[in-house]
């Protein structure tokens, strides 16, 4: 065994102390007829070969593409300080701070995370992390049902499809989920249909526990969040805002427009994409919801000598204390990613974060102009921050051919939203501070080329020169 310390002599000494001759005797309590059939697994591999194998596997992934893919997970530059601090064993090889006297590092870091995210979201109560944005959104929906004692949640179709699916799974057959349609055309095309929201909220037979909208929404567009808050509250429902934390450096925070709960994906705060996780589920709420919020909370207190210290608190919400009456079953969370987000925010600072958000917006605008010049217009007219949808004839085929040219042309909307009308020819593209002018030029030129080649495509080739 590669990491074990025991020599033959050690094992013999322990066996002798126990008065037995073989470790097999310690497994005599497994009934003979239920003993395992053996383990058919690969041979143990020394680290030298194993490291080469892992490198080869990683090399089979293509991470060299010029990428315009976002859709809930964003490429950002993370100061090297973040990862260099994360690899300290004192952080990543500790566990939940059950013994506060020897866990003040983790406890204070969580308290600081709560404070930083309270500042970003404008909501005072922040849980110490959930699995990801989808699970946090699902927990938010359940909170709304518990708090209002109602059993129906409205989720906009412009919330990330994985989040909608996750909410549906968590609500199960006991609680109801209705989807809010999107405006089909006009100035507000691609945003949530607020007339439909108003109608559903007014149905006396189906009182609504919570309304869930994303800002920016999955299509990159900005929603009228203050109006949604008004409508939801007038009907006695809670308002759940699904947020992207970098955007909160410049966009109005949920606390300011009346959201009761904010949920979101913390990955953009210095966490690599790593094919789906581990990420950081952000969950924040107003003060009256403090006893409904699931997950760990850390509070400031003092020790016997009056020294300031930090401790897990309001534990009566949690599964190890309350068992079947707990607010959630969550135990292991994403603490190390909350730490990563805190270090990222501390290292980059408030002005740096604003620049990250605003640079992304500036690059996205350049991207929009370059793609329009290449004959690829936007799908919706409304305002966006750093992500938007464009209309490309034969989007799926073009997307595939662009990979051969070294370009990851965003997300094929028809694949991600198979049931959504009006996105058939859509690609969802984004830019961030790491997107360069060269990247944009290459993308626009390649797209123009492909459209020229595409039999059903527009004759857009002449527009491809001098796109920027």
């Amino acid at each position: 065994m590669p990491y074990g310390p025991h020599t033959t002599a050690d094992r013999e000494r322990m066996l002798a102390a126990l008065g037995i001759s073989s470790v097999d005797e310690l497994f005599d309590d497994i009934p003979v007829e239920l003993r395992a059939s053996g383990l058919d697994l690969p041979e143990p591999e020394p680290e030298l070969q194993l490291s080469a194998r892992l490198q080869a596997l990683a090399g089979r992934n293509r991470t060299d593409l010029v990428s315009f893919l976002g859709a809930g997970v964003y490429r950002h530059w993370s100061p090297p300080a973040v990862d260099q601090l994360l690899v300290r064993g004192e952080w990543y090889t500790a566990y939940t701070p059950y013994q506060p006297e020897v866990s003040q590092g983790t406890l204070q870091s969580i308290y600081e995370y709560q404070s930083l995210l309270a500042e970003l979201t404008g909501l005072p109560v922040v849980s110490a992390s959930h699995y990801d944005g989808a699970a946090a959104t699902a927990e938010a929906a359940l909170m709304a049902c518990r708090q209002t004692r109602r059993d129906r949640v409205l989720v906009s179709r412009a919330v990330h499809p994985h989040y909608r699916d996750t909410v549906r799974t968590y609500l199960g057959p006991r609680l109801e989920l209705d989807e809010l349609p999107l405006v089909a055309d006009g100035e507000r095309a691609g945003t949530t249909d607020l007339d439909a929201l108003e109608r559903l909220l007014a149905d006396p037979d189906h009182p609504i526990a919570g309304v869930v909208l994303a800002q920016p929404n999955f299509l990159g567009l900005l929603e009228d969040m203050p109006r949604v808050a008004e409508l939801a509250h007038a009907a006695g429902a809670l308002f759940v805002a699904v947020v992207e934390p970098v955007s909160l450096a410049v966009l109005a925070p949920p606390g300011a427009y009346g959201a009761d709960i904010a949920a979101g994906e913390g990955q953009p705060l210095g966490i690599p994409p790593q094919y789906g996780g581990p990420y950081l589920g952000i969950l924040a709420a107003t003060e009256p919801l403090v006893r409904q919020i699931p997950g760990r909370l850390v509070g400031m207190t003092t020790d016997l000598d009056g020294r300031r210290a930090f401790v897990m608190t309001l534990r009566a919400r949690e599964q190890d204390i309350r068992r079947d009456k707990a607010a959630s079953n969550i135990c292991t969370n994403q603490a190390l990613l909350a730490l990563a987000a805190s270090i990222y925010l501390a290292a980059i600072g408030p002005h740096g974060l604003r620049d990250v958000a605003a640079l992304g917006a500036a690059r996205a605008r350049e991207l929009e102009e370059a793609l329009a010049a290449a004959g690829v217009p936007r799908l919706h007219p409304g305002p966006y921050l750093n992500e938007f949808a464009v209309r490309v004839p034969s989007a799926r085929a073009v997307h595939r051919r662009l990979i051969e040219r070294g370009i990851l042309a965003g997300l094929v909307l028809a694949d991600a939203l198979p049931d959504q009308p009006g996105v058939d020819d859509g690609l969802l593209v984004c830019a961030t501070e790491v997107t360069t002018g060269d990247d944009i030029d290459r993308f626009a030129a390649a797209l123009a080329d492909e459209l020229r080649a595409e039999p059903g495509g527009r004759k857009a080739g002449h527009l491809a020169t001098g796109t920027r």
Binding site: M14, A118, Q319, I330, P383
Partner: protein, 499 residues
């Protein structure tokens, strides 16, 4: 000399000075946000702290030194399997090919990771004796929810809709009853028998046409193998219910017992316990779930599939309508799963069996030593962990398990899990794992024996411990009564940019 550093730290907010920091991100051009309606913008910037990088680094290095961790010492936290976290695995997860891969990357771009995930699923199925495995759940508790939701879907598909109860032994993890509630079931608690196993008579009395599932941790949280498991599983299935195995204690039985072979229908793995992925100060983990034949159709989507010509792909949305759906975004905590994959490759089948053999041998040896000074309520061979109790010590000296735990800190050790499982008076759940040397086990046992002696000779020394930690015991009551969960009210104060 304390087991962790002595220096408490100011908060980031207290370290902040307006004008510090910068130099990381170029300024955005003026007008970058011009096209965004004013109503959608923030009025005032968030009042985040302003620090220069050297201050940030010192802050987090100094804070880290206030933590006890596996990398700094023995961490026998029962039920958590705090084994060594191999460094190769940390390196592997950070390889750019793994770390920088976008989860919406098309399958043809993600073949390396998809192959890794596919192989990992196969190995976990082999280890557990299950038919198939999903890697999607982010942690053990989410794995439990996945399993119970699949069980619900199974019964509903058969029109068996009256089953609204889940049976859970009283020694179980709190996540089990909390999961049952989340999935809409009522929890029926089954008492334990005198030998620590499930009380069969009470179990049989509770089992019936309302029973949807039974959740059993095996070995149990007392560290004991459930020897009557064959009988219990037969009865569960005869009653039309399904059996869930909480795999938190899998580290004891690798290569010795396969839950799927024995008749369990579904189980979760805690890769941050059994397969050495780090605990991260509370997470992340990953909680893959294995299922037998009955639950195969209900696995969460997307699954990782291998095509006939050898390439890999993800299931498409809606491809398998019987699925319970998604538990989270994307495929799972892939970065954690890379580490688990490396661990399994490094060990192979023979190494895994040795892991369990050594973990069980170490636990029995340590139990034998701890018995010199403490009660052992269930005195038979344990698996990878065991429960000791300070009941006798408390009677004779007034010193409680909590005090013993705090005094262990002064002796250089992380305390075990205390007062769990709930059914043991003054319990300490001790799990040494296979990566601790016999010298460490002896030193820990010596410390516990010494503490028992101190309790007799100078009980105040024990009841006021720890004495060498950066803080003494905390005022948890005030923390809960007047919660202070952030450094100040959100002000959103204006801060001019320094450059």
């Amino acid at each position: 000399m304390g087991v962790v550093g002595p220096r408490l730290q100011p908060t980031l907010d207290e370290r902040s000075r307006p004008g510090r920091g910068g130099g990381k991100i170029p300024h955005a051009p003026a007008g970058a946000l011009d096209r965004i309606p004013a109503a959608a913008l923030r009025d005032t910037p968030p009042a985040l702290p302003e620090l220069n990088e050297p201050d940030v680094v010192r802050h987090y290095v100094n804070l880290s030194q206030l933590n006890f961790a596996v990398d700094t010492g023995f961490y026998p936290l029962g039920s958590c399997t705090m084994k060594f976290n191999p460094k190769l695995n940390e390196w592997a997860a950070r390889l750019p090919g793994f770390a920088q891969l976008h989860p919406y990357a098309p399958d043809e771009v993600a073949q390396g990771t998809l192959q890794l995930l596919f192989e990992l699923e196969q190995w976990l199925a082999e280890i557990s004796g299950m038919r198939a495995v999903t890697l999607q759940p982010a942690a053990g508790a989410q794995g439990e929810l996945t399993g119970i939701l699949m069980i619900r879907a199974y019964h509903r598909a058969r029109g068996d809709v009256e089953r609204d109860e889940v049976l859970v032994p009283d020694s179980s993890h709190g996540t089990n009853p909390a999961t049952a509630s989340m999935a809409g079931f009522r929890t029926i608690t089954i008492p334990s028998a005198a030998d620590g196993g499930v009380d069969v008579a009470a179990f049989e009395a509770a089992l019936g046409p309302r029973t949807a599932a039974v959740m059993i941790t095996n070995p149990s949280t007392l560290g004991l193998f459930e020897s009557r498991i064959g009988l219990l599983l037969d009865e569960v299935h005869a009653a039309g219910a399904l059996a869930y195995m909480d795999g938190a204690n899998l580290n004891a039985i690798l290569g010795r017992f396969k839950p799927g072979e024995a008749g369990f229908d579904v189980m979760h793995f805690n890769v941050h316990k059994t397969f050495s992925t780090p605990h991260g100060g509370g997470g992340p983990g990953a909680g893959p779930v294995g299922v037998g034949e009955r639950l195969l159709p209900y696995l969460p989507s997307p699954r990782v599939l291998r095509e006939a010509e050898g390439s890999y792909r993800l299931e498409r949305p809606g491809e398998r309508p019987t699925s319970i759906g998604r538990l989270r975004s994307f495929v799972g905590n892939t970065g954690v799963l890379v580490r688990a994959y490396a661990y399994l490759r490094a060990h192979g089948g023979s190494g895994l069996r040795e892991v369990s053999d050594d973990a069980v041998l170490a636990a029995n040896y340590l139990k034998h030593r701890v018995a010199e000074a403490y009660d052992i309520p269930y005195d038979r061979p344990c698996k990878h962990e065991f429960v000791a109790s300070a009941t006798g010590l408390k009677k004779s000296t007034g010193v409680r398990t909590l005090d013993v735990a705090k005094r262990l800190i002064d002796k250089g050790f992380h305390p075990p899990t205390i007062y769990f499982p709930l059914i043991v008076d003054e319990g300490m759940l001790i799990e040494p794992t296979e990566t601790e040397s016999v010298e460490t086990l002896d030193a820990f046992a010596d410390a516990l024996v010494e503490i028992a002696a101190e309790a007799e000779s100078d009980s105040e020394l024990v009841t006021t411990a720890p004495h060498t930690a950066p803080v003494r015991r905390l005022d948890e009551a005030t923390a809960a009564r007047q919660p202070n969960l952030r450094w100040r009210p959100m002000t959103g104060r204006q801060m001019p940019c320094p450059d």
